[in-house]
């Protein structure tokens, strides 16, 4: 019996980590629907200060506000990523240069050096790890407002360790985009959580 996948959310002391509460169960539903990966049905919240996080290959970190790791949080984050863990980080603000974006990017500089986060090319393995996204990351409804005021972040950034993504960083607010009851998915023209499946499958298989 393979180990079931646990969706781990990272709790950090600064800012707000408790966002998009239905998003994990929606992504877990997609994982069950499209793949054979066994899952734990409930998300697990783990403090970034806790060594418990090292038991899991995937973590999610999000928020709207300040991200400022304390010494323990920083040490755990660096160690987790360097040891092969995968953190999906999603900015809940749908603007550019918001507080989360500025402070999180600063934390990445502190943790991994000034050029840690790099733009991911649209032909990266992430975009082919389960479904194919030839044009890179799919847009969200928060970006496509019509009327010429679109603000689309057409790439994601990542910190890679030995050619593998350790931190996947999104300004696109996928968390809000996927924060709905999974039963409503059937009314969408196309399931917009498919890219979430790619992220999880990349994290579990690469």
């Amino acid at each position: 019996m393979p180990t079931p996948f646990t969706f781990v959310r990272l709790q950090y002391r600064s800012g707000n980590w408790d966002t998009d509460q239905r998003m994990p169960s929606n992504l877990l539903h997609s994982l069950v629907e499209y793949t054979t990966v066994p899952v734990v049905e409930q998300e697990k919240v783990i403090s970034l200060e806790s060594a418990e996080l090292f038991r899991y290959p995937f973590c999610y970190l999000s928020g709207h506000k300040l991200v400022q790791f304390n010494a323990k949080e920083k040490a755990n984050f660096v160690k987790y990523v360097q040891n092969g863990g995968f953190v999906f980080v999603d900015d809940c603000n749908h603007d550019i240069d918001g507080l989360f974006a500025r402070s999180f990017e600063e934390q990445m500089r502190v943790c991994f050096g000034p050029k840690a986060l790099k733009k991911l090319p649209n032909n990266h393995a992430l975009y082919k790890s389960f479904f194919k996204f030839e044009e890179g990351p799919p847009t969200t409804s928060f970006e496509l407002n019509g009327w010429g005021d679109d603000l689309v972040h057409d790439y994601l950034k990542a910190y890679e360790v030995n050619g593998r993504i350790g931190v996947l960083y999104s300004n696109k607010d996928y968390g809000c985009e996927w924060d709905y009851d999974f039963r409503n998915k059937r009314w969408l023209a196309e399931d917009n959580t498919k890219f979430g499946v790619n992220i999880l499958m990349y994290a579990l298989t690469s």
Binding site: H94, L144, N145, G146, C176, D179, D181, N184, W187
Partner: protein, 440 residues
Amino acid sequence: MAILSKDQAEALLKKALSYSKADECEVNLSGYKGGNIRYARSTVSTSGEEENMSLAVEARFGKRSGVATINEFDDASLEKVVRRAEEVARIAPESPEYVPMLGPQTYLPSNAWFKSTADINPEYRAEAARKSMALADSKKLTSAGFWEDRSGFNAKMNSKGLFAYNQSSDVDFSVTMRTEDGTGTGSGYVTRDVSDVSKLDTAAASEIAAQKALGSMNAKAIEPGKYTVILEPTAAVDLLQNMFGSMDARSAEEGRSFLSKTGGATKLGEKMFDARVTITSDPTNPEIPTSTWAGDGRPHEKVTWIDKGVIKQMPYSRFWAQKKGVKGLPMPGGFIMQGGTQSLEDLIKGTQKGILVTRLWYIRAVDPQTLLYTGLTRDGTFYIENGKIKHPVKNFRFNESPVIMLNNLEALGKPQRIGGNLVPPMKIRDFTFTSLSDAV
């Protein structure tokens, strides 16, 4: 006199039909008397009154059809318009969607006409507008409103023996109130429509617009995202009407609508919405009485379109119903969405965190197959916390589908008439606001 009694209309239509030499002939007579008044900045800017009567004749030879209209009713004119329709029919191409004219039908008795509304005169309209403007003046608000009333009849007769007659009356009133220049950005809106004008109090309605305007000054920006919303009936009706207008059976069977399934099947009989969603129509409903027959002569009946979330009926054109070998119901004149007993205030009281939406505006379709729409909130958008309106918020652009919205129901209030329909205020979770708007 533009409004004929049933007997007068029948006599005139019989005479018109007597001139016909076509294979099939149908005559439609309609007449109305009505008026309007418009005001802005506490001044009436336009007002008018009109009456008119018009006859349309459709003549058919085989599958060729021609239509001519006239608004003179002496014998020579009646014969002239019938001849003209016949001339057009002879040179028209054959209709690939021809259906024979209907024979005699049985209709429910209509209750859509009110003497109170038919008796409206210019003084009545002026007084209605004055009350609204006076209320705005007393609160130092700028008002812009429009009132339109109409009473009339429609009658139809054809060479197959069908005869239908209906009288109706309606009043539409709406007013926008704004705070004065320089004092903020408050805006409020209210709209009312009635068949019986004695049910319409422009001062009471205007009070709501005034409260919204005064309450929505200096709105704070909050972040777009998914919020629990309370949609007032004025906000909900446009999305629901768009959904209802997309329920046509042919669109569904041809794969073009939200009720389509691949391979030509439809979602008839499937549960599409929350179990509290039941939508019916009834031409004799005393709150929203409509004509008891459709424009094509078919009777309007009491129909349950959506029952406890399950699609029970779809409207059919006569052509599509014949092609499919089904009875096929026409699109009704108005729909009735069942609600609960709570008032809007009760819904607000029961909300921990949410947004009260007065009105959705400038709605445009994004994806017809999922019924995704976009548009803006306007004229009073408020943040609710712990059961109370806490402060006004800046307007949003929304991206939402009424199908998803009706799956995310939290609570329904008491239905009220809006745009010829009965719609409850609705509390809905996860309503998607995608960006802020500078509109007020």
